[in-house]
């Protein structure tokens, strides 16, 4: 009875992982990562691992994306200051990726 | 004290010390933190020294009172305990070396840096002593996480941050590969204990599952050991880390990777159902030789002193891999001694480079040309370190090299030549730099514009504030380390103990019996008994003298007549240098290529 659920959850996680890798823009990647964390939690729950599901929910959907978003905020805020001397290619790439 | 106490204490002491420093560092002045850190480091050295006499066979400590089938067991033989002891000694040296080295890291938190060093120590000691594969992964990650942070310590300088990031990403990815491999092994055997894993594999034939799991598990160790083509992160990280951290990274952390390969192979994959001896031997001999030659060739090309030393570490790691790939007790014994002596010599050389950085704010060979004439003592020590690197008797490096060459020469007469060439080139490069920097030998080196290279100029100094006298510990510690290197070569008891330990190390039956109980030993194939050579031989002394003489000749040639033949070598080496691009994507692509090639090569031989 569990097998279809497992298959769906694994499929979802695999697709999310692929999209997360192909999403080159960190903010959107963080959102996909959060979705993937959620998918992983569901997968772990159907694999009868509630402990891991809980911590994945806390870490994968909340903590890691939050840290990434805070980093992006810090990193992209600096770009308004203009490029520093000797920082090659700084003005071309504003830290948000392409 | 019984081994069940000493083994966990060796990990618990630095962990507890780190906590003490993190808390006490908020109120204690800098001196108090240094004293506390030194006391903890001494405590761990004492603990491991007390453990040493108990390691005739394999000393075990079942944690939590659980047997190996259920819980985690710490298991130490001479080589594991010896490596842990080396790590503890180098940590003590580093803590003493940095007594007055750094300026205050962040004002109020003087204890954070030594606390991180102690956590790093706990990771290394735990990795060397554990008898459980997943536990080894955990301590591998502890070692890694603290090392990344320590490497990026100088946040005012851009290059350490880049080096630390490359280091962190490549190592973490490799660790995840290993964990996948652990998962595959667990699926096959349902075990995590090394000895139990070895026994569990014996029930099946060697199939692609075992080969793939072996390669994946070993990937993290290959990256840590900086075996070509997994080595690219190492020069980037070692060239930029703070000097005391470099002493640990090059002195012992890289060697722990080699130890991990040997330990996992012998305990898990050496029996039936594992990786055949011939496949392992051929593959890792080739990898070792490739690594050694690449390291030596790249070392010769460097002008950034720390990067030069980092590539010389890669060259020597290649020799260590050759030593363990022989799969004989005498090769393993020689390598063990070589690792210990090399750790002392390399840490001493990094420490002396730190003096240059402190005095002149540069680690650039041409930039420092002739400038350090007043540091005569440092210069003499630097030359001694270079000769130790070249394997001159009576240094421990010479004895270790001689013993390993002896073991290698039995089946492969051309291998000693590799040892001589690699140690001569790496020693000669360091000697060349010493002659130029401390004595102004030869003519002023000309700049080489347009070449892909890292200069050692414009380093952020590691010390700020008014000009001060050179802290005596910054010279005393390297001198003591070099003395230790001599002692390793001159005190026969050390070599004898390691030779005995190598016999146990290469005997999976003994390990299995110690960890799982005597009944378990029957399934393992017996080790090769017989005395392991442990003393200087005529051939060893001669080859040591030869490589030292070659090193001197190379250094003198390089300083007196640089242009013509140096340019010829430079042209051929430029392609190799281009590959060291500093680009994270390149490094990971190389890692993927390495994993794929290893899979294919080992599968073809089974």
């Amino acid at each position: 009875m569990n097998t279809p659920l497992v298959a769906v959850a694994i499929g979802f996680v695999t697709v999310c992982a692929t999209i997360a890798v192909l999403t080159r823009e960190p903010v959107r990647q963080a959102v996909v990562l959060a979705a993937m964390g959620l998918g992983l939690s569901v997968l772990f729950a159907v694999l009868q691992a509630p402990d891991v599901a809980l911590s994945q929910l806390a870490v994968g959907t909340a903590l890691t994306p939050l840290l990434i978003l805070l980093t992006v905020r810090k990193v992209s805020r600096r770009s308004t200051a203009g490029s520093r001397p000797g920082a090659g290619g700084a003005d071309r790439d504003d830290g948000t990726g392409r | 004290m019984p081994t069940a106490t000493l083994l966990p204490l060796a990990v618990a002491i630095p962990l507890f010390g780190a906590v003490l420093l993190a808390v006490a560092g908020r109120v204690l002045p800098r001196t108090g933190c240094d004293v506390l850190a030194t006391a903890v480091a001494v405590g761990d050295v004492v603990c491991l020294a007390l453990l040493w006499p108990h390691t005739h066979g394999v000393a075990t400590a079942p944690l939590g009172g659980w047997p190996a089938q259920v819980g985690i067991v710490l298991a130490a033989d001479r080589l594991g305990a010896g490596l842990a002891l080396l790590a503890a000694c180098l940590v003590l040296a580093v803590v003493v070396y940095s007594w007055r080295y750094f300026d205050e890291p962040s004002g109020e938190r003087a204890g954070v840096f030594p606390a991180m060093v102690l956590l790093f120590e706990a990771g290394m000691v735990g990795f060397a002593l554990t008898g459980d594969l997943f536990n080894a992964f955990v301590f591998f990650e502890l070692m890694g996480a603290t090392a990344y942070a320590l490497t990026g310590y100088r946040i005012e300088d851009p290059r350490p941050l880049q080096g630390a990031l490359t280091f962190g990403v490549v190592n973490s990815f490799a660790a995840y590969c290993s964990l996948l491999g652990i998962g595959l092994l667990y699926a096959r055997t349902g075990q995590l204990n090394l000895a139990a894993l070895g026994r569990g594999l014996a029930g099946h034939r060697t199939d692609l599952l075992v080969v793939t799991a072996f390669v994946l598990v070993i990937t993290a160790m290959l990256v840590k050991a900086a075996v070509v083509p997994f080595h690219f992160w190492l020069p980037d990280a070692h060239a930029v880390a703070p000097t005391p951290v470099c002493m640990l990274l090059s002195g012992v952390m890289v060697e722990l990777g080699v130890y991990g390969i040997a330990r996992i192979h012998w305990t898990v994959f050496s029996g039936p159902g594992g990786v055949p001896d011939d496949a392992f031997r051929r593959t890792f001999l080739a990898l070792g030789v490739l690594t050694a030659l690449t390291g030596a060739a790249m070392c010769w090309q460097q002008r950034h002193l720390k990067r030069m030393l980092a590539f010389s570490t890669i060259g020597h790691v290649g020799l260590f891999v050759v030593g363990i790939a022989l799969l004989t007790p005498d090769g393993t014994a020689g390598t063990a001694l070589y690792v210990a002596a090399h750790g002392c010599a390399k840490a001493a050389l990094f420490g002396l480079t730190g003096v240059l950085l402190d005095r002149y704010g540069s680690v650039d060979e041409p930039g420092l040309y002739g400038r350090a004439r007043e540091l005569r003592l440092v210069g003499v020590l630097f030359v001694i370190g270079a000769l130790a690197l070249a394997g001159l008797p009576p240094f421990g490096t010479g004895l270790g090299k001689g013993l390993t060459e002896d073991a290698a020469g039995h089946g492969h007469p051309w291998l000693p030549a590799v040892f001589v060439v690699v140690s001569a080139v790496t020693g000669g490069t360091v000697l060349r730099a010493a002659l130029r920097i401390f004595w102004g030998f030869g003519e002023t080196p000309r700049p080489r514009p347009g070449e892909p290279e890292t200069t050692g100029e414009g380093e952020e100094p590691e010390i700020r504030g008014p000009r001060r006298a050179l802290p005596p510990m910054m010279v005393a510690v390297p001198a003591a380390l070099l003395a230790g290197c001599v002692l390793l070569g001159c005190v026969p008891a050390v070599a004898r103990a390691l030779a005995g330990g190598a016999g146990t190390f290469t005997d999976p039956a003994a390990y299995r019996a110690a960890v799982l109980g005597p009944a378990a030993a029957a399934t393992a194939h017996p080790g090769t008994p017989g005395p392991v050579p442990d003393a200087w031989t005529g051939a060893g002394v001669l080859l040591g003298l030869l490589s030292a003489a070659l090193a001197v000749a190379l250094a003198v040639l390089a300083t007196t007549r640089p242009p013509t033949w140096h340019r010829a070598i430079g042209a051929t080496a430029r392609g190799l240098r281009r590959l060291h691009s500093g680009h994270l994507g390149d490094y990971l692509a190389w890692l993927a290529l390495g994993v794929a090639a290893l899979c294919a090569v080992i599968a073809a031989q089974t």
Binding site: L70 | V70, L209
Partner: protein, 249 residues
């Protein structure tokens, strides 16, 4: 290396790795099989120590040494972040500006903050009985506190977040794990041995040292994650370089 060469090299390697891994997967015992020797031994060991949640028992009793290493990694990371995200010589701290918060947002935070705190404590406390434990509860506790940031503004968060205390708590909890291991060594001759009375199965005090280690991890994770997030928030909100214009948020 050019991007193209790099990609080609990766593609070739990935195909080989994929083939090997694929064959290995086919040779791996099939998904959902009945034989789990180590798992069965762990269940028996956990029941022998009267711990209802076997995963907690594995984490805090049977393989507690793994968790000691893991907690040390967390401790090291917090120290490392302290080291790496310190104020550089050319930076200064600028107090965060006060912010206007929508009343509904404030209400959301005010209501959820206590709920999240209670849930976090509950998850930590019942670690040896039900799913969850020190780690999961600790993260929930740490996240709960940051609802304060949503509800009010950064200055309020800074007030309810005694960083120095939390930092010390993080260290002490990490030390407590080691200390309990040493207590086992002193009392019963084995590091991390479960020396306390095991209690009655399925009660909150059951499992000997498991609830204590669990609580230590809960404290460490909660305070460690708060400190970690604080360093990141400080970077994002308060710390500016000299060359950086002060901008209104």
């Amino acid at each position: 290396m050019s991007a193209r060469a790099r990609l080609l090299m990766f593609a070739a390697a990935a195909i080989v790795i994929g083939v090997f891994y694929g064959v290995a997967s086919a040779e791996t015992p099939s998904f959902g099989r009945a034989s789990h020797p180590y798992g069965d031994r762990a269940v028996a060991a956990s029941l022998a120590h009267r711990t209802a949640n076997v995963v907690s028992s594995v984490n805090f009793d049977i393989r507690a040494f793994d968790t000691l290493g893991e907690e040390s990694i967390l401790f090291g990371t917090v120290l490392g972040a302290t080291l790496l995200l310190r104020l550089a010589r050319d930076e200064r701290r600028r107090p965060a500006a006060s912010e206007r918060v929508l009343p509904t947002t404030r209400l959301f935070g005010v209501i959820w903050l206590p709920v999240a705190l209670v849930v976090g404590v509950y998850i930590v406390a019942h670690g040896q009985l039900s799913p969850g434990g020190g780690f999961q509860g600790g993260v929930v506790l740490a996240t709960a506190l940051h609802l304060g940031y949503i509800a009010a503004d950064y200055r309020v968060l800074e007030k309810v977040r005694p960083l120095a205390v939390l930092d010390v708590a993080d260290s002490l909890a990490a030390g407590a794990f080691t200390a309990m291991g040493l207590a086992g060594l002193a009392a019963a001759g084995a590091f991390l041995k479960n020396v306390l009375p095991l209690g009655t199965f399925n009660e909150i005090t059951s499992g000997g040292t498991v609830p204590l280690l669990n609580a230590a991890v809960g404290v460490e994770v909660a305070s460690g994650v708060i400190v970690l997030l604080a360093h990141f928030l400080d970077q994002a909100v308060e710390i500016t370089g000299n060359d950086e214009p002060e901008e209104a948020r």
